[in-house]
Symmetry: D2
Subunit: 422 residues, 4 copies
């Protein structure tokens, strides 16, 4: 299979310049989630030019391109398209100066601070190379461009908009993310890769009173404080040391002055877990503890729980991950790694979930290798290397794009170019 | 002494109508603290008309009127003049519709929701009666009208503006407050009467981080919660059961969303104590606990403590209180009571404090006696009787004013009309 | 009425020496609760000698002596007889060296460290003086000697053993306690005087596990700690500042080593309150909080609450207290005081409770007045003056006994010697 | 190298019966730490019989046997010898009925509940096979039998008794442990394998007082509770989700009754971490929190920290682990696994630490494979399979012993039988 990949990727030189131009253009024109009209059009046009059968507007701005190339496996590769409300401070010649008007009429800056422009570019490149070398493989390749990953609602939007009827059912779904590793690096990981992330708002109710009369009150400040303190035991006492999880109370708000006991407190929580059982256990424990602390204070009303956002855990399936890891090892040699567990979250797994098929997701590096090596030598990686969502996050164009195109192509061909899969 | 009081108060009938007019006028024209220009002018004019030597503008709008009437004790009686930013909902024909423009350019309603209009009227009446019957007593009577009691800075303002040089040094200072007892009621209390009230803002510092990375943070939400929980031990463990005190955390604010650990939390506290030793002990304990909880979380910066307001305890001196209580017993009979400890606060004690002289402070009732009796019979006093600072607080004109004028006069004459004091 | 008391107490000189001997004998021979056989016999013999109709063995060792003296009020005076398991360190010539063998076969020291020997002696003296001067009064005097006050079960024992059928129903019940005030002092107090004291054992259940596997456990140490912390809010947030109460967790025990999470924790609590409503409120709040904290930790079993002991509040009835206070004022002059609220507890109120009659209870001082005055001058009363239950508690014989006999006699005659009561 | 191992292990059949007898004898005669006289003698005798140069009494009962077999690597294999104070409930014909008299004169049961009898037997077997086939390899084999692993002081005892001077310096140290996996299983793991375990006793000081007088106390029950609650934040907030650690407060003891506030509380903690940096961080955080909570309560004395026991983390070196894993893969095929991170602790790493050499440690299974498979099928492994330290822990004799002998031999020959190592 490695030979097939090498055959197809021999064409990389002829598309490299186009891809670099595309990348700079996308970076200069970032679009927020569900507004990726320009980005989607560029992706759809490129697919069409390569001979794909293209469906646009799936879930708003999503794009599905299908290249049927005889009997064989169906491989779907997914890229996310949206950018973030961050003011770019990279100093790049192609830096974004885009802004957008938000609901309150304020101008907001927009930036590809998470590297989705890399993802779109690389999938476009892979799609083109596969189209140009369709004699080297057989089966069907589906290139899927998803909106609004950052808000966690883009995969859902496509699914609710009929994705499973508007795309062939894949045998496997592939996706990649550029992360702050050295450009050239590819990293796979079987099993847990990204955390689930659940955000919720909890309102606890007390009874207001003058600050001098606690006996007339049920003090919601004390309830909220007791909840925060008691929630620490979820991670410390209810989970094994080796079960990673985070319960963060990111905000707490109650009252408007020193001298009046308010009638409620509002907490906003973020929960990170790595598998569904732990996720359920932790969310249940939070509700149990909040309710009990309300009872301890004889709260007059049930607490309220409002889901603010919810990302599933990204747990790579074993078999496709092993297959991709082997293909990466054969193609990338020492640049192929096992990547660490990440605390970030993703909604891509909802797409294979909707089809009921396995998936694997991997990392590619985007940092100038020399810069990374120097920071590593000085022990300053954490300080010196900008991470995703930072205003200074600026993947180097190469070898980032080459690596991303190659990784997608090698992985896709692990099915499409493999006689065993036929 | 009772006879002297009866002699002087025989004149009450001739001034009653003027006082009721004055009261309604003041009620209709409330003024916020340090803006009591109209009120102060009315008081000063009345004093001058009665022959007092008047100094205006002491501490902004404060007024000091002196009536020297031969050798004898010097008695100062104090009334506070300011109103509150409350929209009146009493339905009275003389209800306030006044508003004032605040610093942010917003119109704010103003109302005499704490009865200071009663205080001003009664002191004006007492001053006039004493002037009209100066043959019945000897000594010096000082009528002091203080600004800005509600903000706790009016007594200070007068003192800092040279009060002790601009008034004869009194032998005793007297003051009264209308409270939600039946009109006609007078209530004295030796020792602790009103609480000290200290409001402070506490800022605890953490280190912000992404919500998924607590290890990179010092979580100020956990610090704030631990502070709130631990502060409960001040009252429960550090004070005797019989030492009344309240520590209320009226507000807590930290963070702006579920997913980011903020870098600070702000708590606003109100502390009620009844003597200076306990006040100091509790305020020290709060600081100790806040600092310790910051250390427990390895907070990177010292917590900050900001004083928002500070009222001293009002602790009536034994001797003048006993003297006034006896005089009230003789004059008011069964309407003279021992009043309960109050959780409200006052700054009047700073005035006798500045002179280094004793004082006594008492309560008069302002509620329609029939209405009060019915509520008492139904056990609904707490619900049915509006309290000070309520938008519905509306003392009945009579017998409230008669009682207030009489109480001041009887009390003043306990010194001025008493041969023992000569 | 004062004259009657003076008449009767004129006889004090003739009995003083007998009483002092009795006191020293009782002090030398202390007996623990429900074992007061010798003490009871001495009291009963003395009553019989004075002509009382005596019932012994009421509730084990209780004694009831009745002196009917014509129509008139029935006054019961009660003294408690039991001592404490304390090794005396007073250095007195008549110090106790008594020991008793406890259930486990160990020798325990016994001492009258709470002054019940004073109470027995004074009631014996009062009973004798009333008997010797029965022409000066009319009505019925009942002298009651109660066992086992320290354990809180002596009054109950007498009541369950038929006290209300074995004594005339009194109009009022009187009792006194020697406290660390100067000898000669008598102090009354209307309303709340002594606290209720409730002791309970709380067992919270977890699930044991190896210390390295919290996920397999429900950690009862965390439950117990959370309970202790949360219980602080009962006093700090659920009661008014002016409602005195104490919730003490005196002991907590869980586990037997560092490395095993135990399956339960046991807390022992003591609760002090001053009226029945607060008592009920606090005990209910404790149960509510313990249950809620068990739920917060998903405890597998309901917590258990076991009552260890229970003393009612001692709340003096207004009318008899006023009557005694007046009589004391008339007889003792400046030595008659209003005494402070005490945090100690008593079971005497169960006796008037059983009869459904009012009572009053007062304090007499027992400390050498010079010693007390010096300590007061130096501000070292708290350190230098031994308190009840201390191994050094040693009331001076006089004027302690004279004062105690006189106080009982003056108080009893406020009914028996008063024409108004006839 | 696999061929060499097969050659040597061809002799397993001839020693199997002797080893099974030895195992049953050791199981029947367990000895507590530092009392392993009989066990050590059996091991030493067996080594001598096989021609080893034997040193006894190293660190009390430790044994070092050396077989020098020409130039080549020096491999040390270590087995621990001690048993536990557990009453055996396995029902085995060779179950232990041994008891020992402890310091307090009480009879204590003793049982090989942790499988050290398996370890001793297997190392004896390996040593004999290597001696009998010394033509198949070259270098030096050191068989080390260590006392008192359970108490964490046996490796130290040997080191302090001059181990590094009494044994050749090894190139690598090997050790294995029987765990509740199916017999036949071998499991290696590079990096973190077993946790560090630190047990400490913490004494916090308050000031005792009567339960009714919290104001006179510094309540150590509240301090202890606050410490327990606050310690939860070490794991929940100070460590990354992916850094495993446990902080357990296994016991808390304070006070002796409900009504007296005691003057101290004693907590016993157990801490599990997997690397030295985390270990130091957590132990420091505990001290910081304890001290801060003492300050929050104005504790009159510094808290005391007493180390009860301390096991280092067992972190397998990469290179030898990879080498053993490869050798196991070649020899055991599908029975060779990567084993999970364990929460147990060991002191064996101190031996290679003393020599400054790398080591690797692995697991062998001891459970009847059919029984294990059935429990796995039913999902009841956690309930049905007895674990180490349980009174029912009973490894099946075979294939446990064969596997243990083979694993040690295969691993040792990965150096001794490998031309690369020569």
């Amino acid at each position: 299979m490695s030979d097939t990949a090498r055959t197809v990727l021999a064409g990389l030189g002829s598309v490299r310049s186009d891809l670099e131009d595309l990348y700079r253009d996308l970076h200069r024109h970032p679009e927020l989630g569900l507004r990726e009209h320009r980005t989607a059009k560029r992706a759809a046009d490129a697919l069409r030019q390569s001979g794909y059968d293209v469906t646009e507007g799936v879930g708003g701005t999503g794009v599905v391109g299908v290249l049927a190339n005889g009997d064989g496996p169906v491989v779907m590769a997914r890229a996310d398209m949206d950018a973030l409300p961050v003011r770019e401070r990279t100093g790049l010649p192609y830096a974004s100066t885009a802004t957008v008007t938000d609901e309150d009429g304020r101008e907001q800056p927009v930036m590809h601070a998470c590297g989705h422009d890399v993802h779109v570019t690389c999938l476009t490149g892979c799609a083109r190379l596969l189209a140009e070398h369709r004699d080297a493989w057989r089966g069907t390749f589906v290139a899927l461009f998803q909106p609004s990953e950052e808000n966690g609602d883009g995969a859902d939007a496509m699914i609710e908009d009929g994705l499973t009827d508007r795309s062939p059912r894949p045998d496997v779904v592939l996706a990649q993310h550029v992360l702050p590793y050295p450009a050239g690096y590819v990293g796979t990981r079987a099993g847990s890769f990204l955390s689930a992330a659940d955000s919720l708002r909890v309102t606890v109710h007390g009874r207001g009173a003058h600050g001098s009369a606690p006996q007339a009150s049920v003090d919601p400040v004390v309830i909220a404080a007791s909840v925060v303190v008691r929630l620490q035991t979820v991670v410390s006492r209810e989970l094994a040391a080796t079960t990673p999880a985070v319960v963060t109370v990111g905000s707490v708000h109650a009252g408007s002055g020193p001298n009046v006991i308010p009638d409620r407190a509002v907490l906003e929580l973020n929960v990170r877990t790595y598998d569904d059982a732990t996720r359920t256990q932790v969310l249940d424990a939070i509700k149990r503890i909040v309710r009990a602390e309300c009872e301890a204070s004889r709260s007059p009303r049930e607490p309220e729980f409002e889901r603010l956002s919810s990302f599933p855990p990204t747990v790579n399936d074993e078999e496709p991950t092993r297959r991709v890891a082997e293909a990466f090892g054969a193609y990338f040699g020492d640049d192929a790694h096992t990547v660490e567990l990440q605390t970030a979250s993703e909604d891509m797994s909802e797409i294979p979930g909707a089809f009921g098929v396995p998936f694997t997701y991997w990392a590619i590096g985007g940092i100038d290798p020399d810069r990374y090596a120097e920071a590593a030598r000085k022990g300053t990686v954490a300080q010196d290397i900008p991470v995703n969502h930072s205003a200074a996050f600026a993947p180097v164009v190469q070898p980032t794009l080459d690596t991303g195109v190659s990784a997608l192509t090698v992985a896709a061909l692990a099915w499409l170019g493999d006689d065993r899969s036929a």
